[in-house]
């Protein structure tokens, strides 16, 4: 793994729970393996919510430190990923609510790593122009949503979190998650021009 230093043992075969036990036992660098397993999902989620690389980077790093400090509360027979993603999302939500810079991400801005702009990257090789345009429209529609709508959609779509986990993250009842998520999806459809009324017509 690119993220593994040569002097770090290969722990890729250990379960999340075993890694956590190692860390609790003092082998703190085993945390690197937990990070390797989760950082892509964490970054994508944080980036969706905050929209900026710098914010997403801070959020994810803070979230890892928080998770490390809270490892005693982690039930080691459960997967680390979903638990960690709820920490990421809370940290990201706090960040956007604290009024951090919110400049909308430009789809044409170069990627952080100096790579091609997003408008080119969303194109899979061999993908037709129509599909590319559709993806760009979806990205733009997503970026145009309110923070709340974008965040809850990110939790569901990027974080792949269940309603119960989203409820835990947002500290609201599950029923509220249901309705907020529906409103967010309606807003996304509206932004895409695929307008849906709040309720489909009754027959």
């Amino acid at each position: 793994m690119a993220s593994e230093r040569p002097d770090r043992p290969d722990r890729t075969t250990l379960s999340d729970g075993e890694l956590v036990r190692l860390i609790r036992g003092g082998e703190v660098d085993a945390f690197a393996e937990l990070m390797r397993r989760t950082q892509r999902a964490a970054y994508r989620l944080a980036r969706r919510i905050t929209r900026r690389h710098e914010d997403a980077d801070d959020v994810v790093q803070d979230a890892y430190v928080k998770a490390f400090r809270a490892l005693d509360r982690f039930e080691s027979d459960r997967p680390f990923g979903p638990w960690f993603l709820t920490i990421v999302s809370r940290t990201a939500l706090t960040r956007i609510r604290d009024g951090a810079r919110r400049a909308a991400e430009s789809l044409d801005a170069p990627g952080y790593d100096g790579g091609a702009p997003l408008s080119e990257r969303v194109a899979d090789p061999g993908q037709d122009a129509e599909a590319l345009e559709r993806r760009l429209r979806i990205e733009q529609a997503m970026a145009s949503l309110s923070d709340d709508h974008r965040a809850i959609l990110a939790l569901r779509v990027e974080g792949d979190l269940s309603y119960a986990q989203i409820a835990e993250t947002l500290n609201v009842p599950v029923g509220t998650v249901m309705s907020r998520l529906a409103r967010a999806r309606e807003a996304l459809l509206a932004a895409l021009g695929e307008v849906r009324t709040m309720e489909p017509p009754r027959s």
């Binding site: 230093r5 803070d62 005693d72 779509v157 835990e168 249901m178 998520l181 017509p201």
Partner: protein
């Protein structure tokens, strides 16, 4: 099917259904509606497509960024000091907000799904609902087994832990009934799988017949209990998957035929309501509408899968979510229109669903839910006396257990 609602469900319910977050009666109500309502299906499918696009957005950072981040975080938590968890971080001067963001034990609402990380809720709606842990594991193992048999589809990792207690009912609900006699090109090349969905099994058989694969593990017709046990030791994952298949197999082998074959009037009514989805207009003519046991309905079944770019046997974790959702939507038409003959996979899922509800005393609607699931299984299996009899027997047993008159 008395439960087809006349009004459209709310968007909340439709999306929650799509996300696999509904359970029990409500889920079936919404499902019944979505199956027969093009408007709602379009909404649900459209949203699925959009979210698939969002999710497949390419990464904006690369491996080197993640590597740098790892070292940075390890520095912050004091990894180099080899201190115990927390100790390193406490020495950090930088005040990081306390870990109040770490989630606590999850709550759940009775009408919502029990929490289960890692399952594929939205990907595979009804598998997802079955899927608290054991059942999902069982389904996955079946897929793995089929993949091994077929020898070409991607091998999925065995679930790390397969809970043991409620496994029996689920495993046997996934067991293969003995009575189906596939005809057509594969008739001479039967391969008996003791565990597996009928349609997948048939698809495998056809595949193998077509490719001329050896039938080294296709001995005589299954002597179900013993045979399953004997072959259970063949591979490790088979061993796990085939645990507890005997009761269902023996049960099935008895071949009881107490279920009357009268056609469920409500299902007929629903059949009339069902529109024909596009993907089904082309498929083979071998599966005439309303065909009966012994036909070759899986041509149509396989054709639907093919139309969505799916192989006959697929691992839900590995195929396009969008294609899967669409294919399964179309497949429901086959089930509901009676064109999938007995859909054994689906029947089993209802049985597994009943098992799940039985195992969950916290579910306030559990008893009604279990009975409802059995009824669904019985109705779906109406053309297959053996499966239907099994479902009847379980329903009766359950009713006795719960003190309800059969």
């Amino acid at each position: 099917m008395k439960h087809v609602p006349m009004q459209h469900p709310s968007n909340e319910d439709l999306f929650a259904y799509r996300d696999g977050e509904l359970a029990g009666e409500k889920r079936f109500l919404i499902e019944a509606h979505v199956v027969s309502c093009a408007t709602c299906r379009e909404l649900v499918d459209g949203m699925s497509g959009i979210e698939a696009d969002l999710k497949s957005r390419p990464d904006q950072v690369g491996e080197e960024y993640y590597a740098r981040m790892t070292e940075s975080v390890l520095g912050k938590i004091g990894a180099k000091s080899a201190a115990g968890a927390g100790a390193g971080a406490k020495s950090q001067a930088r005040a990081i907000p306390a870990a109040e963001d770490a989630p606590r034990v999850e709550r759940r609402r009775p009408d919502m799904e029990p929490e289960a990380e890692g399952r594929r809720r939205h990907l595979f709606p009804w598998f997802g609902v079955v899927g608290a842990g054991a059942a999902a594991a069982a389904v996955m193992v079946v897929v793995v087994m089929l993949a091994q048999r077929q020898g070409e589809w991607i091998r999925a990792p065995r679930p790390a832990s397969a809970p043991e207690e409620p496994f029996e009912d689920r495993a046997d609900s996934l067991a293969e009934p003995p009575e189906f006699a596939p005809e057509g090109p594969a008739a001479g090349a039967k391969q008996k799988l003791e565990v597996g969905a009928l349609d997948n099994k048939r698809a495998v058989e056809r595949e193998e017949a077509a490719s001329g694969l050896a039938k080294e593990n296709a001995p005589a017709p299954p002597v179900l209990g013993e045979d399953a046990r004997a072959r259970r030791s063949a591979t490790a994952s088979e061993k796990d998957a085939a645990v507890e298949t005997r009761s269902a197999n023996e049960e099935l082998a008895r071949g009881e035929r107490q279920q009357s074959q009268k056609v469920d009037e409500n299902l007929v009514a629903q059949k009339k309501m069902s529109a024909t989805p596009q993907a089904m207009q082309a498929p083979s003519a071998t599966a005439a509408a309303g065909d009966i046991a012994g036909g070759a309905p899986t041509d149509e079944y396989a054709a639907v899968l093919r139309a969505h770019g799916l192989p006959p046997v697929y691992d839900p974790a590995r195929v396009s979510r969008d294609a899967l959702l669409k294919a399964e939507n179309d497949l429901r038409y086959l089930y509901m229109a009676g064109r999938a003959q007995t859909d054994s996979a689906r029947v089993r899922l209802y049985l597994a669903e009943a098992a799940r509800a039985k195992a969950d005393p916290a579910d306030s609607a559990a008893v009604e839910g279990v009975i409802h699931h059995y009824w669904r299984a019985i109705r779906l299996a109406r053309k297959d006396p053996a499966v239907s009899a099994m479902a009847w027997r379980r329903l009766e047993e359950y009713q006795r257990e719960t003190g309800r008159a059969p």
